[in-house]
C-alpha cells in the first residue's frame, strides 16, 4: 500500500514512474527532486506532482523557459517556473 509520508513528499512510486511518459511526446519523463515535478525534456515542459500524484494533463504542463536547461546527467540545476 502506498502511504503518504512527509519524508518523501512528492515521491512517486517506482512502479508508476516506470510506465509514465510525456502525454504529448510519449518520451520518457525525468523526476526533478528540487521542483518536485516530472520533466519532459523532449518538449521542455514540466508537470506538477501533487501529494505524490503526478498530474500529466497537457494543460497542467508548464513550459520551462529558463535559459539553463536542466541537465539529466548531474541532477537538476536551478529552475524557475513562471506561474
Amino acid at each position: 500500500m502506498v502511504r503518504g509520508s512527509r519524508a518523501h513528499a512528492g515521491a512517486i512510486s517506482k512502479a508508476l514512474l516506470d510506465i509514465l511518459v510525456c502525454p504529448v511526446s510519449k518520451q520518457p519523463l525525468r523526476f526533478c527532486q528540487e521542483t518536485q515535478s516530472l520533466i519532459s525534456d523532449a518538449i521542455g515542459v514540466s508537470f506538477p506532482v501533487v501529494d505524490e500524484i503526478p498530474c500529466l494533463v497537457p494543460r497542467d504542463g508548464k513550459i520551462i523557459e529558463d535559459k539553463e536547461k536542466m541537465t539529466s546527467a548531474n541532477g537538476p540545476g536551478s529552475a524557475h517556473h513562471h506561474r
Binding site: 512502479a15 510506465i19 500529466l56 494533463v57
Partner: protein, 354 residues
C-alpha cells in the same frame, strides 16, 4: 400553463424532502438550470498545444464537472455498480491474469470497490482528468484494503495517455470514454499502452440514453433543438471503433438500464454525481429559468409512471478488444484457401444422394 405547474413543483421542493438538498426553491431552480446548461460563464480558449481537430466537448468543463462530482460522491450508485460488475465479470471469462491494470476515469471508484480479486490484478492504476477526483479516490483507499492489490494514482487525459507502450495487461474504462472528443484516438492510445494479448474493456453510454430528456421543452419554448445531450455512440459504431483502433477479436454488446427516480430533479442530481452533465462546446449559454422549470414539469408529466416515479433509460455499450498476439486466432489471408466452394457443394450433394 407549464409555468404555473412548475411553480407548484417549486413549492413542493421547498417543503418536501428536497429541502435537504437545497435551502430554497430559488436555489433549486438555479441548480437545475446549471445542471442542464452547464456553467454558463465558462468559456475556453483555443489551446495552442492541441492539434486543430474538431472539438465537440469542452474537456476543461468536463474536468470541472468531475471536480464537483468528486465532492458530491458518497452514496451508493446502483446503476454504476451494475455496469462495473458487468465489466469485471468479463475478467472471469478469461483464463489470463492481468497483473498491471489501468482504470480510466468514469466510474473508477466502483471498479476499485467491486474488483474483489478478479482477473488476478496486482497493480491497479487509477487515472482521472480531475485532481479532486483522484485525491478523493486516494483518501478513501483504506476502505477497500486488499493485501494483494497495490493502487497507484495519477491525473491524466484519456486523449493524451501518458503511459509507455506495451506496459499494461488490462485497460478498463467504466462510463468514461463517451466524453472524449477523439474516441478512436483515445482507443488507439489504449491499445498501444497494452502488452501483446492485453485486454481493453470499456463501457460507454449509448445513443439511446435519456432519449426523451429535456429536448422536448426546449423545442416547444425556444423553437429549435439546441445540443443538450452529448452525441453518444450508436451500437453500430462501436464495432467500427474497435477495429479502427486496431483491436483483435472485437466484441460489442448492449444493455439497457431503466432507473426510476422520484423526480426529474433527482435525475439531474444523479447525472451530476456521475459528472455527466452537459459539456458540449456548442451548448447555448442562455437557458431561461422558465424553460428549466417547464422542462422539469413536462418531463414529469410525460414520463411519470403510475406510482409517480420518473423512469430514465441508460443504454450501455460494452466493448472488448485484444491487443494482437501470435497466439490469437486469425482468419487466413486471401488466396490461401486450399478448398473451393465447389468442392464443398459437391461434398454435400454427394451426401444428399446417398
Amino acid at each position: 400553463m407549464a409555468v404555473s405547474a412548475a411553480r407548484v413543483i417549486a413549492g413542493e421542493w421547498a417543503s418536501g424532502k428536497h429541502s435537504r438538498l437545497f435551502p430554497s426553491p430559488a436555489a433549486a431552480i438555479t441548480a437545475f438550470s446549471f445542471a442542464i446548461a452547464g456553467l454558463a460563464s465558462f468559456c475556453t480558449e483555443a489551446d495552442g498545444v492541441l492539434s486543430s481537430r474538431v472539438k465537440i466537448f469542452d474537456r476543461d468543463l468536463k474536468r470541472k464537472h468531475r471536480d464537483r462530482a468528486a465532492w458530491l460522491m458518497g452514496g451508493k450508485n446502483d446503476f454504476v455498480d451494475s455496469v462495473a460488475e458487468n465489466l469485471l465479470d468479463r475478467l472471469e471469462d478469461c483464463k489470463k491474469t492481468f497483473s498491471t491494470a489501468l482504470c480510466l476515469g468514469g466510474s473508477s471508484e466502483a471498479i476499485r470497490r467491486l474488483i474483489r480479486g478478479r482477473g488476478g490484478i496486482e497493480k491497479l492504476i487509477m487515472m482521472d482528468m480531475s485532481l479532486d477526483m483522484v485525491k478523493h479516490l486516494k483518501n478513501t483507499e483504506q476502505n477497500y484494503v486488499s493485501n494483494n492489490l497495490e493502487t497507484l494514482y495519477m491525473v491524466g487525459d484519456e486523449e493524451f495517455l501518458p503511459i509507455k507502450e506495451n506496459s499494461l495487461e488490462l485497460v478498463v474504462s467504466c462510463l468514461g470514454l463517451h466524453w472524449t472528443n477523439d474516441l478512436p484516438g483515445a482507443m488507439i492510445q489504449c491499445r498501444l499502452a497494452l502488452k501483446p494479448d492485453g485486454l481493453f474493456l470499456a463501457a460507454i453510454l449509448g445513443g439511446e440514453t435519456l432519449k426523451m430528456a429535456c429536448t422536448i421543452a426546449q423545442l416547444e419554448r425556444e423553437g429549435g433543438i439546441s445540443p443538450r445531450m452529448s452525441p453518444l455512440a450508436q451500437v453500430r459504431d462501436a464495432g467500427n471503433l474497435l477495429t479502427r483502433a486496431g483491436f483483435a477479436l472485437p466484441g460489442v454488446d448492449v444493455d439497457e438500464y431503466t432507473v426510476r427516480y422520484d423526480s426529474a430533479l433527482e435525475l439531474i442530481e444523479h447525472l451530476r454525481t456521475m459528472g455527466e452533465t452537459n459539456a458540449l462546446l456548442q451548448r447555448s449559454n442562455i437557458l431561461k429559468r422558465d424553460t428549466a422549470l417547464a422542462t422539469a414539469a413536462v418531463y414529469e408529466s410525460m414520463f411519470a409512471a403510475e406510482d409517480g416515479k420518473i423512469p430514465a433509460t441508460f443504454q450501455v455499450i460494452y466493448m472488448t478488444g485484444w491487443k494482437e498476439h501470435p497466439s490469437q486466432q486469425k482468419s487466413k489471408s486471401r488466396g490461401s484457401a486450399t478448398i473451393s466452394f465447389e468442392d464443398i457443394q459437391n461434398h454435400f450433394r454427394s451426401n444428399e444422394v446417398s
